[in-house]
């Protein structure tokens, strides 16, 4: 032991500063993180104010102000929920799969959503699709999506050949299959019916119905809190199965727990605002740049701040400033898709 102690003494005197293991490499990185976090939250809040107040004909002190902003508030709450769901689920999903170019959409939530919507229209007609809203339909869809993922996880992760990548592959194949079936059904629709369906199949916060909020908000907040409390475990899980097991973490059980939480978030978000394939990916990608740390306790809030800022700013600009009623998710998908290609092509930064 004596030689070791001498070695340590010289090391310690060589660098006299206290040696600690923070989440960030340098104080500068840490300061930059907090500044960016405050910046994104600030811009997000400003954009929220803008969304509520900008070009609002009714003054704030008028008694009819609250009823007037109600519709805008609904959209803002939907953005909050969508940002929370996509940011947390994508970052957690990328960590447990140790892969930064995939999103939980691969598990087929969006295909199942569009399959359900299309088949309601196909089998029961336009009147049924218009009526296929409300708490019952909402929770039926959420339950179906969670059930699909539970079957996938239960079947493919707990068996003898428990393998995350096999599960992803099967998820993609199921998604492709569902897409093919709904594509076939869409072909035989009349143009007016198709138009009705198309509005549901492109994600938009204006799809959201405030009726669901009393249940959706607590559900999402509790799930997100659970994921956040798992941050330290997520840090270890992202090192892979072997290292996690060596550290005494039950990999299988924890992976399934995380995936179930992700399934809840993705199902709620998809049913509430519709599919947004690349949004989570874009948010996760930017948050890794803005939070230069492995630690999920810092990456997750940053991802949410970026997601919320991105959604509110995009809606404010497109709806109220440029008066372009283009669906925002189309724009986000466009940027997300381009960012995805850039990341794939510059493989080094994965």
């Amino acid at each position: 032991m004596s030689t070791l102690d001498i070695g340590l003494a010289t090391n310690a005197s060589g660098s006299l500063r206290a040696r600690t293991t923070g989440a960030f490499r340098t104080r500068r990185d840490e300061r930059r993180y907090w500044m960016l976090l405050i910046l994104f939250i600030g811009v997000g809040l400003l954009a929220t104010l803008g969304l509520i107040l900008y070009k609002n004909p009714v003054p704030v002190d008028s008694p009819s102000f609250i009823p007037v902003v109600k519709r805008r508030l609904t959209a803002v709450v939907a953005m909050f929920i969508a940002a929370l769901c996509h940011s947390f689920s994508t970052v957690a999903f990328q960590s447990v799969t140790s892969n930064r170019i995939i999103t939980p959409s691969l598990l087929g939530y969006e295909s199942l959503y569009s399959f359900i919507q299309t088949s309601v229209l196909f089998f029961f007609g336009a009147a049924a699709l218009v009526k296929f809203t409300g708490t019952g339909a909402f929770f039926l869809q959420v339950a179906l999506m969670i059930a699909l993922s539970l079957i996938l996880f239960g079947w493919l992760l707990s068996g003898k050949y428990g393998n995350l990548h096999l599960m992803l592959l099967i998820g993609i194949i199921i998604g492709a299959g569902l897409n093919a079936v709904s594509g076939f059904m869409r072909r035989v629709l009349s143009p007016s019916e198709f138009d009705l369906l198309q509005a549901r199949l492109i994600g938009s916060v204006n799809n959201a119905d405030a009726e669901y909020f009393p249940i959706v908000i607590p559900l999402v907040l509790v799930t997100v809190l659970c994921l956040y409390l798992l941050s330290r475990k997520l840090n270890v899980l992202s090192l892979g199965k072997d290292v996690s097991t060596a550290f005494g973490v039950n990999y299988q059980a924890n992976i399934i727990l995380v995936l179930v939480l992700i399934a809840v978030l993705m199902s709620v978000s998809t049913t509430l605002v519709g599919p947004m394939t690349f949004f989570g990916f874009l948010v996760a990608l930017l948050s890794y740049q803005a939070a230069p740390t492995y630690d999920h306790r810092y990456v997750l809030p940053m991802a949410f701040a970026i997601g919320f800022c991105m959604l509110t700013t995009a809606y404010l600009l497109l709806y109220h400033v440029f008066r372009a009623q283009t669906v925002v998710s189309v724009i986000i998908e466009l940027f997300g898709g381009i960012a995805f290609l850039i990341v794939i092509l510059r493989k080094r930064s994965l």
């Binding site: 032991m1 070791l4 293991t21 490499r25 140790s98 090192l239 892979g240 550290f247 740390t293 492995y294």
Partner: protein
Amino acid sequence: MITLRSVRKSYGDEVRIGPLNIEIPKAGITSLIGPNGAGKSTTLLMIGRLLNMDEGQIRVANMDVARSRSNDIAKILTILRQENHFITRLTVRQLVGFGRFPYSRGRLTKEDEAIISKYIGFFELTDLEHRFLDELSGGQRQRAYVAMVLCQETEYVLLDEPLNNLDIARSVQMMEHLRRAANELGRTILMVLHDINFAARYSDRICAMKNGQIAAFGTVEDIMKPDLLSDIFETKIEIIKGPYGKIAVY
């Protein structure tokens, strides 16, 4: 002591490993050698509970590996494989700090920090401790991973081909570090090695495997015999005396 009792594992009908019966004593370095497909890594992974066995029992320090709580095992035994996902934006110090997870569950105390510094110093990584893993050479990264598992301060350390992809200088350096870990820190190290001469130079004991069976187990003197090694590797192997002990020539 690591004890294997009639441990079996089969992959299909063709490949069968076991029944393995062996007692690997505490302290020192034991190397597992043998041709490809002999079952060395499988055996190591089963001891390290990364792979389930079909039959039998493995006890490490009197704990049943398959039945004890994983977190309890993590305090007496650790295992490192040759390939690891590496995360971006993880510094050497943060990686080594993960080794304290079984004790601190991610909340590092002052004692943890001192232990982390100790192992970073032990593996001569002090100057690199704030580098990200993707800014290191392969040899440095390998050392950082080994520092991480030693930082777990378990009595038993299992390493799967720790010299994989290292050049001669890096390999010698790694083995010197492991030798010191065994001598100065009293660790019991069990590792899979491909190079017989590295095994002979730095191990206390060698366990040779062939066709899923333990072909021979003993001190370096016992194993470094031309007939025995020629038979195990199915290649003509001569043993000559070198300045640091016996050398296998093939």
